[in-house]
Subunit: 312 residues, 4 copies
């Protein structure tokens, strides 16, 4: 199996590292316009090969390096700068997609494509139109990362392992996203009914608001502090890649083209979906309160508005 | 860190293997009355040491080999033979516990103890009384295994990854156990509302009954076919060990001494509980239907009745 | 990728377990004539699926279950009983090979085959003749296990990690096998020149003899104590499988058809060889003393003699 | 167990990531003077916690965060800029060591310290003097990274897995370092006697020279291309940490205070040494040619000269 990565920046290279450490593919190929950088990243990754499951690492400024990839993760783009919103990045990113994707589809005709570049929902929508690929075969990493941030915060707040918290952030990977509180659970207890040892409701409205805001702010705070976010997204993307390469049928909140999901359609947005070898499968209709559904609709509208601004 | 295992039979040795492969402890020590067998198991395990994270394996017929263990897993006992119920095994097993546990507590005074030997709920209750250990520090592997069987069956039935299915089997690790259907979920969708792609309810009453029966029958079927069950329990026990050694605060359906859990007390029974470095922490009050609660009460009664038969 | 296993006995099932835990293949299929057993093993393995990388486990008494395997490991055969030599097993095993292999090659035409059943060298030779497969595509697990036993013993003796000891056992997987002392090294120091902290030679002739004997006796001692050897061989076989599936080009002492290896040919015997996706590649001509070469020749003769007894 | 990291730059944060992914410690604590950065790195790492073995991540600008660490890896310092040699960094780095180490030893009195900051040999020597720690408990990552680069290059050149190549780079982690060709081996064949399939010597003098130069140039090339080296060093350091935390007694070319190693003493330099829970143990006297020994002596002299320039 072969993992192809477009863009050897903070996200692309870290993702290659995580994928190598977990041994998900026998070949990991990186493509980037920055020749010196992509070669240096491939070299640095190769130097550690003795310590990880066997794999070959390649880096090149020629898309051909991604030939016959089984999965391609798209991370090329401008880094989000402090203060900059994800939508500001859209225009230039779409240009990059337009310049690379057609050739990419040619050299890796059977690949499943995972878009990571921001604004990921708009980029995914544009990429579908540009490539004409079937919607199952191209989707965005969406709110898999945001959901893992939510779980981390909830786990800390409640005092259980993140693996025992089941909760999704849905909608735009961005400011209009929202946690699905109503359906969230902790070890089969509805999250909203979880109680502290002294009997109080663990997650009152104030706590929910604070945590929801924290999730949205997380990326900004990390970027402000270190200039990029790369470690968690590297693992989140690796999880998605594994779901595809191992045909896991795992439910992950990826950004896919919706078609009458609670009436929402013609937009790429994150909702829980079954991810398998063919890409993204059935979307999962998680029960939502009216407020949550309203939030999701608003998020869809926000993403659609941006897309329209760029002619999609 | 040191993992101690009492009993180097099918379960004990396989558990040692899984623990070594996952690198959970630097020392894995096996104790068994069968001198030749325990040495042979330790030797076989040692021969593979080159292929796993570094560890030392020891095997002895002297309990002293378990000195200073951080976690001790108790698997000594008679194997369940085809046709034999888990309760039939109780008497002899309790004798074994009585003969080993006091000395074990002496040599490994700070260990957390995980009982696996069947009938695990009764054995756990007896072991608490025999040892006088605080209930947090001694509990049974309970229905962690049964729950993983349930998840496997549900995952197959529904067509998603087992990791996306959240459901517990509670009660006795045995014939009176029951799945908690009402609180079970698949990717944040209540299991009972999950629909097949064509819109039908995925898990009607008949399917539920069949799957619940399958879970209970699983152990019997495996034992009939191969004379023991060892692989899944080896992984389930390793998961519990990791929760303790890594202080995970993971919610697992282990068998612990209940004290007013929905009014149920003075019995060891599996309900979801938070497992951490100190052993078993808060029990999690999963919402149940009246029927489920009734089933749990009946299961408690069944376990209590057996315990009483053996003077506990 | 798909791993096929012929024989769901102690070795076959344990190997499946190790392979599942290490996530080497998406499908692990077991074939055995014992219908009840193979189904039970597959069921037990499946029950643990939640705790390992995603995979599907299948068990059947129909060879068809192995269709399209990438690697097939052959473990069917009679277990070595206490006192019984590996050669005693030959006749019945060859019969099994004859009955299964042709059909197996039909359903999995592109597989690399790894023979484990004893006497592995004779069985491998016979299997090549029976199947007509190119010698690169069918070889035996050989002395990979014995070498890991040697490394474990040397590591204990010298006081370093097994991973820092580089030494091979070559020849027959059996009584005539021999360690290659002269070329063995510990952290780039020739093993024979390694000194204890107080300056003495660490491995004098007596120690070498004792350790060489220990390696040969290991299997017997384990079998005497527990009735089978399964854990270390499960890991050793998994290492070989990884070398093939990941195209590692790793040097492993597998049993392959020799053709003028130091003049030795027309026999299957273990010498270090490069294992990759195509199976076994170039044999590695390790420098040997005259005594070592003599030992290898004698071992070849022993294996050939047995083969001849069975008409090969 | 607790892993402490001083410096949350490219190396420190990547090392934390690798250590988290491999599950080596339950707590990973980062300390850095750059408050915003260290918090951001800890946050980013925390967000991925759901995807790795359970651990707690902490980041702070107060050394206290490293309290009671079992291992501390020191990566604080200025990044090597394109064109800058490792020795140029010495002065400022030693200042950093002087300001942090005494307090660090106070809060983590039992830790084993692994220095990574460059020029690592001089920094290690200075740190031993500044701290007064026993030489076993403080050493540098040395040429573990360089050796893995050498193995990668040799593996590529020869066509075998890096894991089958056994070779060390010794001396300064820097321009005067040298590969030990004479004792290097590939699958028990002396490297210098390895032949290509067509019978030619695989590694003639020209190839050796090129590869040796490549190893030295590697860091420069990576830094030129991407501004830092972090991935391979993250894995190399994790390997060292595992050797300590798992008491592996693994032979690794770390930089330790030599005392009559082939007559060389009073300098920190990399030679193969046994690494275990107590830190660095016996140095391994690998046989060397006169030229190699001369090279090592010259390297010692180079390191000593730099140390002297900084008053050590
Ligand atoms: N979806 C998420 O959850 C998520 C999380 C983190 C980052 N991101 C996004 O990922 C993207 C990458 O972030 P980063 O931190 O790695 O940025 P980066 O600037 O470090 O890397 C981007 C890389 O893309 C390369 N590139 C630019 N144009 C290219 C082209 N035409 N062809 C090939 N390569 C090209 C650049 O040379 C650079 O190496 C950003 O859009 C960021 O917002 C998304
Ligand atoms: N709780 C679960 O989920 C679960 C799952 C599988 C098996 N089990 C139970 O685990 C137990 C062990 O099963 P097994 O298949 O390994 O059985 P086994 O017969 O293979 O092994 C039991 C071992 O205990 C040893 N033993 C007996 N008395 C001893 C004593 N006094 N001191 C030390 N060792 C002693 C025996 O020598 C034997 O090696 C059984 O009770 C079985 O029912 C529980
Ligand atoms: N090469 C090595 O390093 C090594 C190490 C350990 C064991 N072994 C060998 O592996 C073999 C298996 O050992 P084991 O302990 O698993 O034995 P086992 O008796 O436990 O298992 C053998 C299995 O083969 C099955 N079998 C028999 N005939 C068959 C047929 N015609 N088709 C399909 N399946 C058939 C049996 O039903 C049984 O389940 C033995 O020959 C043993 O000596 C080799
Ligand atoms: N030994 C090796 O094999 C090897 C390999 C790669 C890098 N390195 C060395 O590692 C060091 C770090 O490299 P990098 O790329 O991470 O650099 P970097 O600049 O990215 O990070 C260095 C970090 O140290 C911090 N720091 C500076 N002064 C400090 C102080 N007084 N207290 C706490 N933190 C302080 C900085 O804030 C910064 O975050 C360099 O010296 C580099 O040469 C060594």
């Amino acid at each position: 199996t072969k993992l192809g990565i477009v863009g050897a920046g903070a996200v692309g290279a870290t993702l290659a590292y995580a994928a190598l450490m977990r041994g998900v593919a026998q070949t990991v190929a990186l493509y980037d316009v920055n020749t010196a950088k992509v070669r240096a990243e491939a070299l640095d990754l190769s130097h550690g090969i003795q310590f990880v499951p066997m794999a070959h690492v390649e880096g090149s400024d020629d898309v051909e390096v991604l030939a016959d990839s089984d999965v391609v993760v798209f991370t090329a783009g401008a880094k989000q700068r402090p203060g900059q919103s994800r939508l500001d990045l859209a225009e230039s990113t779409i240009g990059i997609v337009r310049s690379i994707l057609p050739r990419l589809v040619e050299v890796a005709p059977d690949a499943v494509h995972v878009m990571v570049t921001n604004p990921v929902d708009v980029v995914t929508y544009a990429a579908l139109q540009i490539s004409g690929l079937p919607p199952a075969r191209l989707f965005g990493s969406g709110t898999v990362l945001d959901s893992s941030r939510l779980r981390f915060l909830l786990a800390e707040h409640i005092g259980v392992a993140a693996q025992s918290v089941h909760a999704y952030v849905v909608g735009e990977h961005g400011d209009s996203e929202l946690p699905l509180w109503d359906s969230a659970s902790v070890g089969s207890v509805p999250l909203l009914r979880w109680r502290t040892p002294d009997g109080a409701v663990a997650l009152d409205a104030a706590a929910r608001e604070r945590i929801a805001a924290d999730v949205v702010q997380s990326a900004y705070r990390v970027i402000e502090g270190k200039g990029a976010t790369n470690y968690a997204i590297g693992l989140a993307a690796t999880r998605i890649i594994e779901a595809v390469l191992y045909d896991e049928h795992r439910i992950l909140p990826v950004s896919s083209l919706l078609d009458d999901y609670y009436g929402i359609g013609d937009v790429c947005l994150s909702v829980p979906a079954i991810v398998h070898a063919g890409g993204v499968g059935d979307r999962v209709e998680v029960p939502m309160t009216d407020a949550e559904l309203g939030g999701l609709r608003a998020s869809a509208e926000a993403v659609r508005a941006t897309a329209r601004r760029f002619g999609f």
